[in-house]
């Protein structure tokens, strides 16, 4: 059966066409207006941030040069000797990198434990009282809004130089960041088990333990692993303010213009970060797969 499409009557067609043109024009106008605003803001921002194309162009050659300076001369025939000379401080650097990872680990775990406790108080579904919910939320907000390195700066003053202020700073910032994510997870749990337990006379802690925790644990682990990745990066720069880890050495080398050493240390940091990212991603995928099965 052949079907023919009846053309619309001219009058109706014209109306539709004009409506279409109008909608299109309005959309275009909106787009244009939005673009103009963004461009204007960009120019204002460029002015405020002292963006200087001239300086950029005249100095840009220094950027590749910087990386060129970071790589030592490595000859093919003397490859092994050159590399070992480049990595003269490998033992020291690896030890500091391990310290960095340890700072990140202890900071993440401490922060996650604090977040775990506070998240239940801060959530809508499991909160004990309005007052404690408010207090927990404001506290978490404060912890995550102040950047970890600012905490580190202040803790270095009160705890002295060394890795401990770094751990503490990461822990506090982590508790704020994870606390928010955790409480959102708790808000999304299935409330039926909680209600069931409450109906059979379970206390609040029992409701949390047997109804909420089993539902949220894999999500919590996943978020904690993600935070660990972030904290490894954060711990690597904690040393900039004297809070331990490899950053201390890095900033020293940069300030003394030991380019080759900067390159060597940067490569160690990048490789470690990539390895950690890869490992945690693997674990997270397994967690998600498990979640899907059950």
């Amino acid at each position: 059966m052949a079907t023919t499409i009846q053309p619309l009557p001219d009058e109706q067609n014209a109306r539709l066409q004009s409506q279409y043109a109008m909608t299109l024009a309005q959309k275009r106008r909106q787009m244009l207006l939005g673009s103009i605003i963004v461009v204007l803001l960009v120019f204002i921002a460029a002015f405020g941030a002292e963006v200087d194309p001239h300086k950029f162009v005249t100095n840009f050659w220094k950027f590749p040069r910087y990386f060129f300076d970071m790589t030592p001369h490595i000859g093919l025939s003397t490859f092994y000797e050159d590399v070992t000379e480049w990595y003269w401080g490998l033992g020291k650097w690896l030890k500091l990198m391990a310290e960095t990872l340890l700072i990140a680990y202890v900071g993440t775990v401490t922060g996650a434990v604090i977040a775990f406790v506070l998240a239940f108080f801060a959530s809508n579904s499991m909160a004990v009282s309005g007052w404690s919910k408010f207090a927990a939320r404001r506290f978490l907000e404060f912890c995550r809004t102040v950047p970890d390195i600012v905490f580190a700066l202040m803790f270095v003053v009160s705890f002295g130089l060394g890795p401990f202020p770094g751990v503490l700073a990461l822990a506090i910032h982590t508790s704020g960041a994870l606390g928010k994510l955790f409480s959102e997870v708790i808000d999304n749990i299935d409330m039926k088990p909680v209600e069931g337990l409450r109906a059979s006379g379970a206390s609040w802690s029992q409701q949390v333990r047997f109804a909420a925790v089993p539902q949220v644990l894999s999500n919590f682990t996943s978020y904690t692993l993600l935070r660990f990745e972030i904290n490894v990066r954060g711990a690597a720069v904690m040393g900039f303010v004297g809070a331990g880890g490899i950053g201390q050495l890095l900033i020293e080398y940069v300030r003394k213009f030991y380019y080759v050493d900067v390159g060597a240390v940067l490569i160690i940091i990048i490789l470690t970060v990539m390895m950690i990212d890869y490992g945690t991603e693997k674990i997270r995928h397994r967690l998600i797969a498990k979640e899907g099965m059950s």
Binding site: V38, L41, V42, I44, A45, A46, F47, G48, A49, E50, V51, D52, K55, F56, N59, F60, K62, F63, Y66, E99, L102, I103, Y105, V106, V109, F142, T145, V146, P147, I149, V150, L153, M154, F155, V157, S158, F159, G160, G162, P163, F164, V167, L168, F210, V213, P214, R233, A236, V237, F240, V241, G244, L250, I251, V254, L266, I269, I270, V273, M274
Partner: protein, 292 residues
């Protein structure tokens, strides 16, 4: 895992026939027990690493008490937040504005620079696996370096000042955006593209009309989100001399001008909260209330 073991103990009390069941379905129980042992070993390892870490960083309860005691004095010295003088207040405000300008300019530039690389790194756009793998590894390396380290490098290139900070933000966001954009592009529905190709559109047209309309709201949402997070990052970038309020923050902390420190922190908190509010409103307006 804990849950399972405790429910088993309570089960054992209530169901005496559990022993018989255990004998009959031995393999099912052994599987469980092996998983349990593994889990406990893992937890034990994690805890011992944690304890070792605490020991390594020199944690003692006494130190915690002493440190927080000193920190309490610092906090007390911070009250009330006070810029010292009007001149200082104006200097700090300008620092905050500079910070915002750096964050905004950096985010927008990074987004524009990263867009083509996002396409290059997407599997469904560039079929050549060498190219997209190379681009992805490049992005990985860029992301592996923290913004503060980039700032340190750029300070060496263009000298001290906010411009170095802007370049640092552009560089590190470039890596992040490239990855996120390529993921968004890969997640795009292929049917519109096929439709356009089938009706005779060119490759470029299929991207322009098939993919861009799908990913634009997602991309805008991500850019806004990064603008938020960049306002936080730029407040600290001054620690290495790359402009913004962080410079004053470090200076006041190092010279123990605690009332000024708390004034700056307060200023930063208010600014960040305001930016969060504006950007979440904008995000909802652009993409609705779906998560980024």
């Amino acid at each position: 895992m804990n849950n399972r073991s405790s429910s088993q103990t309570s089960l054992r009390d209530r169901f005496p026939e559990l022993g018989e069941m255990r004998e009959r379905y031995a393999e099912a129980f052994i599987g469980n027990r092996r998983d349990e042992v593994k889990a406990y070993l893992l937890i034990a390892a994690l805890i011992s690493l944690y304890v070792f870490g605490l020991y390594y960083v020199g944690f003692t309860p006494m130190m915690l008490i002493n440190g927080f005691g000193k920190f309490g004095i610092v906090v007390k010295a911070m009250m009330p937040p006070d810029p010292g003088s009007w001149d200082n207040a104006i200097v700090f405000m300008r620092g905050v504005i500079e910070t915002l300008a750096m964050a905004f300019f950096g985010t927008v530039c990074a987004a524009f620079l990263a867009l083509p690389f996002g396409f290059l790194a997407a599997r469904n756009i560039v079929a050549n696996s060498v190219i997209h793998h190379a681009v992805r590894r490049l992005l990985d390396i860029i992301r592996g370096i923290d913004t503060l380290i980039w700032a340190l490098i750029w300070v060496g290139v263009v000298g001290l000042g906010p411009f170095a900070g802007v370049l640092a933000i552009i560089t590190s966001d470039f890596g992040a955006f490239g990855k996120l954009f390529s993921e968004a592009i890969e997640a795009a529905d292929q049917k519109p593209v096929e439709g356009i190709v089938a009706s005779g559109g060119s490759r470029l047209e299929s991207i322009r009309f098939g993919i861009i309309p799908q990913i634009l709201p997602v991309l805008l949402g991500q850019v806004l989100y990064f603008f938020e997070s960049n306002t936080r990052t730029t407040t600290i970038i001054g620690i290495v001399g790359a402009g913004g309020i962080g410079l004053y923050l470090t200076e006041t902390i190092r010279t123990y001008l605690w009332e000024e420190t708390s004034f700056i922190i307060m200023l930063v908190l208010i600014t960040v909260a305001a930016i969060d509010l504006i950007s979440s409103k904008l995000r909802v307006a652009i993409i609705g209330s779906r998560p980024v």
